[in-house]
Amino acid sequence: MTIEVFIPLLTVLALGTFLGFELISKVPPTLHTPLMSASNAISGITIVGAIIACNELGYSTMSKWLGILALILATVNVVGGYSVSDRMLKMFKKK
């Protein structure tokens, strides 16, 4: 990776972190548990990396198997995280 590629990625990281602080600080304590399960789901974005890793070579390779392992784990996070958040958020009702 060249420095020309690295700097824009670092920029995204810095801005994303600050944005994250701003956004999360405004979430009320009532919703902190669903927030955490939703962020579980979002961290499942590694599913994208896993798909890229799965796309490599044949079954004899370690890379491929690690990719498939990552794919399953990340999918659990994505599907489980969004589903359980939805299940919880559905319960928050006003009188």
Binding site: L23, A41, G49, A70, V78
Partner: protein
């Protein structure tokens, strides 16, 4: 990378941000979660279309297996077990990052490309992704085991623990240098993987069960940071931005939890809190607290005579599964024109917001659940406070006794109310191991017994009055 994929990732990132933003209001939160899920779907779709047709079946198989496991967890889990589930998911996120980074390393140095890394940024990102991912994985598994009681929730400390951890971290840094210098020998990266797994265990075992809200928040953050590092391995913007959002989210929650306990993050991480506190408490407090007991009938008469009630739930409520009984209590009190509200301490329960979810599941309207800062001034003009399974968060020693280990921790001003009734199994101290002088106060009555049974009986009595 093709332009359309970059654009799809950009749209996904925007949807994640909008989704989290919508989580700031209870009314829009569910839609926000859905918006975020659409963002994820777009990111997956954009990635899958660039896959070679021959691997498409493997990928769908992987997604299918993961989806089944995920759905099973999501719909089977009880609301009292959400902290365990979040812990497991944090761990999976960490392990996924570790696996992807290791996969990339293998591809570039051991097989296929075999070209090795031509720069420093990618191998360092690989190491970080593995290291943070590994710690997140085993750390989360220990948190999970502590939460569901498979291993003792108490702090596990041994001498030389901190020097050992430090030594392992230094060793990992040394090994990292070897990885960068000699990318073709996989032994170093495998050793780092192993060390990170060991460190995850060692870092979480000294932390007591009641500090779990901090640990879970922090591991949540780590899983985001690991995803971020993976983003640098693959030069992938959407991974970096999502990882940054999750990382920041975990840090914010960690800070909130630490502040609510008046402890520094370092203090929590070094662990062993419950143990040292126990001895300190018995020295200055003594066990000469004389409590006044109250029976169910008498308690019911008190309930019947008041016009305002604040219920204070704690982790004990979740343990006794008493939230549905509390819902009945809430209903009957409303019927009797008693103004009922719930006071929620930020660290009540085993993760941030845990009480709110349990009470929401029991169908208690969320606008009746009031945060500590907003309700603390109201205790003085409240007739009755009913405490269920909370202890340290209502201990006035935090305000009055500078020798108390919890001195300085923000607590609920329950003692200011006219009468306080405490539903408690017995006189066992809270997790901090200290006496609670509230229980000996003139206006405090103890209702001993299992919370669920006591409350059910109390509700039945109330129905007859």
């Amino acid at each position: 990378m093709k332009l359309y994929i970059e654009i799809a990732y950009l749209i996904s990132s925007i949807l994640f941000i909008v989704g989290i933003k919508m989580l700031n209001k209870t009314q829009t939160a569910r839609k926000g979660n859905f918006v975020s899920a659409i963002g994820m779907f777009i990111a997956i779709l954009a990635t899958v279309v660039q896959v070679r047709a021959i691997t498409l079946i493997d990928i769908f198989a992987g997604i299918l297996i993961g989806s089944i496991i995920g759905l099973y967890f999501a719909y089977k889990v009880k609301m009292t077990q959400i902290p365990e589930m979040v812990a497991v998911f944090n761990g999976f996120g960490g392990l996924a990052s570790l696996a992807i980074a290791l996969s990339d390393y293998w591809l570039n140095t051991q097989e296929g490309l075999m070209a090795g890394y031509s720069d420093l940024i990618v191998p360092i990102s690989v190491i970080l992704s593995i290291f943070i991912g590994g710690i997140t994985f085993t750390g989360s598994m220990i948190a999970y085991l502590k939460l569901n009681g498979k291993i003792s929730g108490r702090a596990i400390v041994f001498s030389g623990q901190h020097p050992l951890n430090l030594a392992l971290i230094i060793l990992s840094i040394v090994l990292s240098v070897f990885v960068v210098i000699n990318t073709s020998d996989p032994i170093y990266i495998l050793l780092i993987s192993l060390l990170s797994l060991v460190l995850g265990v060692l870092l979480v075992i000294p932390i007591g069960g009641a500090d779990m809200p901090v640990v879970i928040s922090l591991l949540n953050s780590y899983s985001g940071m690991a995803a971020c590092a993976t983003g640098f391995v693959l030069s992938n913007n959407v991974l970096i931005i999502s990882g940054a959002l999750v990382g920041a989210s975990g840090i914010v929650l960690t800070q909130i939890m630490c502040k609510a306990m008046n402890r520094s993050l370092m203090n929590v991480l070094l662990g062993g809190f419950g143990q040292t506190a126990g001895s300190a408490g018995s020295v200055d407090g003594g066990s000469d607290i004389v409590v006044k007991e109250v029976g169910v009938e008498e308690a019911a008469q008190i309930f019947d005579s008041v016009s305002s009630l604040i219920i204070v739930p704690g982790y004990g409520m979740a343990v006794a599964q008493a939230q549905h009984a509390i819902r009945e209590m809430y209903e009957i009190c409303e019927k009797k024109n008693i103004n009922v509200r719930f006071a929620i301490h930020p660290v009540a329960g085993r993760m941030p917001g845990h009480m709110n979810v349990l009470l929401a599941e029991a169908n208690i309207p969320y606008d009746k659940l009031i945060e500590m800062e907003l309700i603390n001034d109201d205790f003085s003009n409240t007739d009755l406070v009913f405490i269920v399974g909370a202890n340290d968060v209502v201990n006035p020693a935090a305000k009055t006794n500078p020798n108390s280990p919890i001195f300085g921790m923000p607590v609920l001003n329950v003692e200011k109310a006219q009468t306080v009734i405490v539903s408690k199994r017995g006189m066992a101290p809270g997790y901090a191991g200290i006496e609670n002088e509230l229980f000996g106060a003139d206006n405090c009555l103890m209702l001993f017994g299992d919370a669920k049974q006591s409350i059910t009986k109390l509700v039945n009595e109330l129905k007859e009055l």
